[in-house]
């Protein structure tokens, strides 16, 4: 398949960017939710939550862009993937409901704070697991007839998707822990660093497992990774991943603040690149390419104009919003 740069390719990269932005940004929010039970009740939990309270909503908006963008740029993919992973998507949405309201509710009801903290963790875990399993369900292939999903409503449940789900949970926990290394200090930071190390090892093992499983999944994937000349394009991804993993372990061992977080993001970026090598140019493997699923040119152009103008502005004020809350998270009372 040619790598010609047409509108559809541009849109595939924009959607991939939105998904990547979502995964790393809401990834650390969800990761903090997953790790929440290990934090001491009181200031440690409060600060962990306060470190993301001003930004979680913006982070979650990338998920809406991923969904809305897919609907707009690749309507067929949207119409195939969501029915194929129906229970996963519903579980993710309901998980995000619990996670989202917990930010406010836990302060409003001290008598039931444990309950809302549990909702925060449960919601975060379910959302992360469902997202990872959705990715796995997509990679293992979706049964399509004509323009409709033709499988049953439990096709997505396999050992492989359990593995991708757990890998995502571990990866988000890594992002969450390294974010807290950056935003906290003292005993809490030390705690986050210990959690980060464990999450890093879990992520490496599961990421490696998924990568190897991928190759056995279908012959075309194997060809991408194991035969020349494709291997020359693909090989840098695992090599760089190994180097980043070593740097990350080192950064977590010495007294670094923001470095582990950025290295975790680099790890996710390489994971995303590996995913791209595996899937390209299919958007719904095994049969539907990005060109099969693409919206008509007129729709793509209309959106591209808007995206080109608005996206830099969004990135600008998002960066500003992070900048406003820069530095270590304080022990704040009221705003």
């Amino acid at each position: 398949m040619a790598y010609n740069l047409d509108l559809t390719t541009v849109w595939a990269f924009i959607i991939a960017f939105a998904v990547f932005a979502y995964v790393v940004m809401d990834g650390f929010d969800l990761g903090i939710g997953i790790l929440f039970p290990t934090f001491a009740v009181g200031p440690e939990r409060d600060r962990a939550m306060n470190s993301i309270a001003p930004v979680w909503d913006g982070n979650e908006t990338w998920l809406v862009l991923g969904g809305g963008g897919l609907f707009a740029a690749f309507p067929l993919a949207y119409a195939l993937i969501l029915p194929a992973t129906y229970p996963l998507i519903i579980a993710m949405l309901l998980g995000l409901v619990f996670r989202g309201v917990a930010f406010e509710f836990r302060w409003r009801d001290p008598a039931h704070r444990r309950l809302w903290d549990a909702a925060f963790t449960g919601g975060s875990f379910v959302a992360a697991m469902a997202q990872g399993m959705t990715l796995g369900a997509l990679l293992q292939g979706v049964t399509v007839a004509g323009r409709a999903y033709a499988g049953s409503w439990f096709d997505w449940f396999t050992p492989y998707t359990l593995l991708t789900g757990l890998g995502t949970v571990a990866g988000y926990a890594l992002l969450g822990a390294t974010w807290l290394v950056w935003k906290l200090d003292g005993e809490s930071q030390h705690h986050a660093r210990q959690l980060g190390k464990r999450a890093a090892w879990a992520t490496f093992v599961l990421m490696g497992g998924v990568s190897l499983y991928n190759i056995t999944l279908n012959a075309e994937y194997a060809e991408r990774w194991l035969s020349a000349p494709e291997i020359y394009y693909a090989a840098p991804v695992p090599i760089l991943t190994g180097l980043v993993a070593l740097a990350l372990l080192r950064a977590l061992s010495v007294a670094r603040h923001s470095k582990p977080f950025w290295l975790s993001i680099a790890l996710f970026f390489l994971g995303m690149a590996g995913l791209g090598v595996t899937m390209w140019p299919y958007i719904v493997p095994p049969g539907i390419t990005i060109w099969d699923a693409a919206a008509p040119e007129k729709s793509q152009i209309f959106m591209l104009v808007g995206t080109a103008i608005i996206m830099p502005i969004i990135l600008g004020y998002t960066a500003w919003a992070y900048w406003v809350f820069r530095g270590k998270t304080e022990y704040e009372g009221y705003h």
Binding site: G42, D46, N50, A53, P54, D57, G58, E60, T61, L63, L65, G67, G68, F71, A72, A73, P75, L76, Y78, L80, I81, L82, P83, Y86, I90, L93, L94, L96, V97, R99, G100, V101, E104, F105, W107, R108, D109, P110, A111, H112, R147, A148, Y149, W153, A295, P296, K298, M303, G306, T307, I314, Y317, T318, A321, V324, F325, E332, G333, Y334, H335
Partner: protein
């Protein structure tokens, strides 16, 4: 079903140019498996969408108006320097934080529900509606979410001017969001500028401006946004009235009640006028919806009555127990007593909306609209007599009317959406041909999950909001809470915190002892 669709096309040929090109899209491209054999799944999917969208709509209907109200309060505070406005801003900010969070999480559900339950609709309309929704995300959702954090938590970090800017951006974002999603919704009622592609998808044919500003959009936008403002005004007025009933000298309660009653007095009549315009627009583009609203099963060649009450009977195609005023409907809709009005007898059965929900929802909405008008007029009279804060019956009425906007908004939504049936895209795509190829158990399970979780979670959230509203607004009002152990900044202004450092006056009591002690 598809053969019917072709034959019914003739009935509206005189009105819609696109009927000439109409083809039963779904029949050609292998979508028939979602019909008939999965009637249960279809019904469940419809119930699920109606349930989740109705729940979701409550929150934006409130937060669109409340965001603007907060911007006004903060602007007045910056302009006049009066602490009263700052207190009111912080009082409502706490409520906004909860309502907005519930709006966000229930909204994300909506953005995926199109794909999970209505995948055929998504595939077919994606090339036209997808870009409009993408624009909503890009221009509205990011704006709201990006500035929300600064609005809630950034007052001490960015300074007053920038904080005010953030508040305005959130308010603007809520409006832009309404703009795009109502454009999408309006296009489903009055689709223009499309053609059918080889894949069966609807392709954008006309200019995007023509698609965005489709015929019903300007009317729907005005009517819906005003409805959101009125809903908020009556909530604010109801809370103000509640506290005036407890203490009519409370200056904070007086201010919010007065502001809300100005809104009611000025905006309620505008809304009735805007609603009438919207109705006339519907009459032009979706006549059977107006027939259902009016309960007109029969055509009236010499002036149609306005039915005040009746029980619609779709089986027999007549309005049972009808009470009507002769010729008034013709006067309202055609501005002429004897103007002929066509009834549902001119519409094939397969193209008729179910009359009962539309008929009653419309009457509930209009009834509340006129009750709002009455409160507004009453408040003007009280103001004229300089008794705005002294008439308990006005306050009691305003308190009862506090949640009425939500009822009206949902009733209006039912009127317009059920009135569009049996189509998702009016005249083009049938609801029965729009759903995902899902098995009924999958949809049933998810529906049960949504119902249980929404009632539990949003029930709790509503309870927290009502708790916040039950506290009377006071001097030195605090903002959004973020710690048990943080510094007590307001010590000395109010005595509470110094006796019990770190205790949040707005939180529920920890236990019975605390509740009894009344800390």
């Amino acid at each position: 079903m598809n053969d019917e669709a072709v034959s019914t096309c003739g009935s509206c040929k005189q009105r819609h140019a696109w009927c000439e090109t109409y083809i039963p899209i779904t029949a050609r491209f292998g979508y028939s498996r979602v019909m008939f054999d999965q009637a249960d799944a279809l019904l469940l999917a419809r119930i699920q969408f109606a349930f989740t969208v109705s729940f979701h709509f409550i929150f934006p209907a409130f937060s669109i108006g409340l965001a603007s109200y907060l911007a006004v309060l903060e602007g007045l505070w910056l302009k006049t320097g009066k602490p009263l406005y700052k207190d009111l801003f912080k009082y409502w900010l706490k409520i906004f934080a909860i309502a907005f969070a519930m709006g966000v999480v229930s909204g994300i559900v909506m953005s995926y529900q199109f794909g999970t339950n209505w995948s055929v609709f998504s595939d077919i309309t994606g090339p036209i509606l997808g870009p409009l929704m993408a624009y909503e995300v890009l221009t509205a959702f990011f704006l709201e979410a990006g500035f929300l954090g600064v609005m809630l938590f950034g007052m001490n970090r960015v300074g007053k001017g920038l904080h005010f800017f953030a508040t305005i951006m959130v308010a603007v974002g809520t409006f832009i969001s309404a703009f795009w999603i109502l454009s999408v919704n309006s296009w489903m009622h009055t689709p223009v500028g499309w053609s059918v592609g080889q894949t069966g998808q609807l392709l954008p044919e006309a200019s995007w401006l023509e698609i965005i500003f489709n015929p019903s959009f300007p009317y729907r936008l005005v009517h819906t946004v005003i409805a959101a403002y009125l809903t908020t005004a009556f909530v604010v007025g109801g809370v103000g009235a509640w506290h005036l009933l407890k203490d009519r000298t409370n200056s904070h309660a007086r201010k919010m009640f007065s502001m809300a009653m100005w809104m009611a007095a000025i905006v309620a009549p505008i809304q009735i006028f805007a609603g009438d315009m919207h109705g006339l627009n519907t009459m032009e583009h979706q006549p059977q919806k107006v027939m259902a609203m009016e309960g007109h099963y029969q055509s009236h060649p010499y002036g149609a009555p306005l039915y005040l009450f009746g029980i619609p009977n779709d089986e027999e195609q007549r309005l049972d127990y009808a009470i009507g005023i002769p010729k008034l409907s013709s006067l309202i809709l055609k501005h002429e007593l004897d103007a002929p009005l066509a009834g549902l007898d001119t519409i094939p059965d397969a193209d008729q909306p179910p009359v009962l929900p539309v008929f009653f929802a419309f009457r509930i909405m209009v009834g509340i609209g006129f009750a709002m008008l009455g409160i507004g007029a009453w408040s003007l009279f009280a103001r004229y007599r300089k008794r705005l804060y002294d008439w308990p019956w006005l306050h009691r009425a305003a308190l009862v009317m506090g949640p009425s906007g939500f009822v009206a908004v949902i009733a209006g939504w039912i009127t317009t959406e059920v009135g569009r049936q049996p189509f998702t895209v009016y005249g083009v795509l049938r609801t029965a041909q729009s759903a995902s190829p899902l098995d009924a158990p999958a949809v049933a399970a998810s529906l049960i999950a949504f119902v249980l979780i929404y009632f539990a979670v949003f029930g709790a959230g509503t309870w927290y909001i009502v708790r916040l509203m039950s506290h009377s607004p006071h001097l030195g009002e605090k903002g959004v809470k973020r710690s048990e152990t943080g510094p007590v900044r307001t010590a000395g202004i109010t005595p509470g915190p110094t006796q019990n450092p770190g205790h949040d006056p707005d939180a529920l009591p920890h236990d019975r002892k605390e509740a009894v002690d009344g800390v």
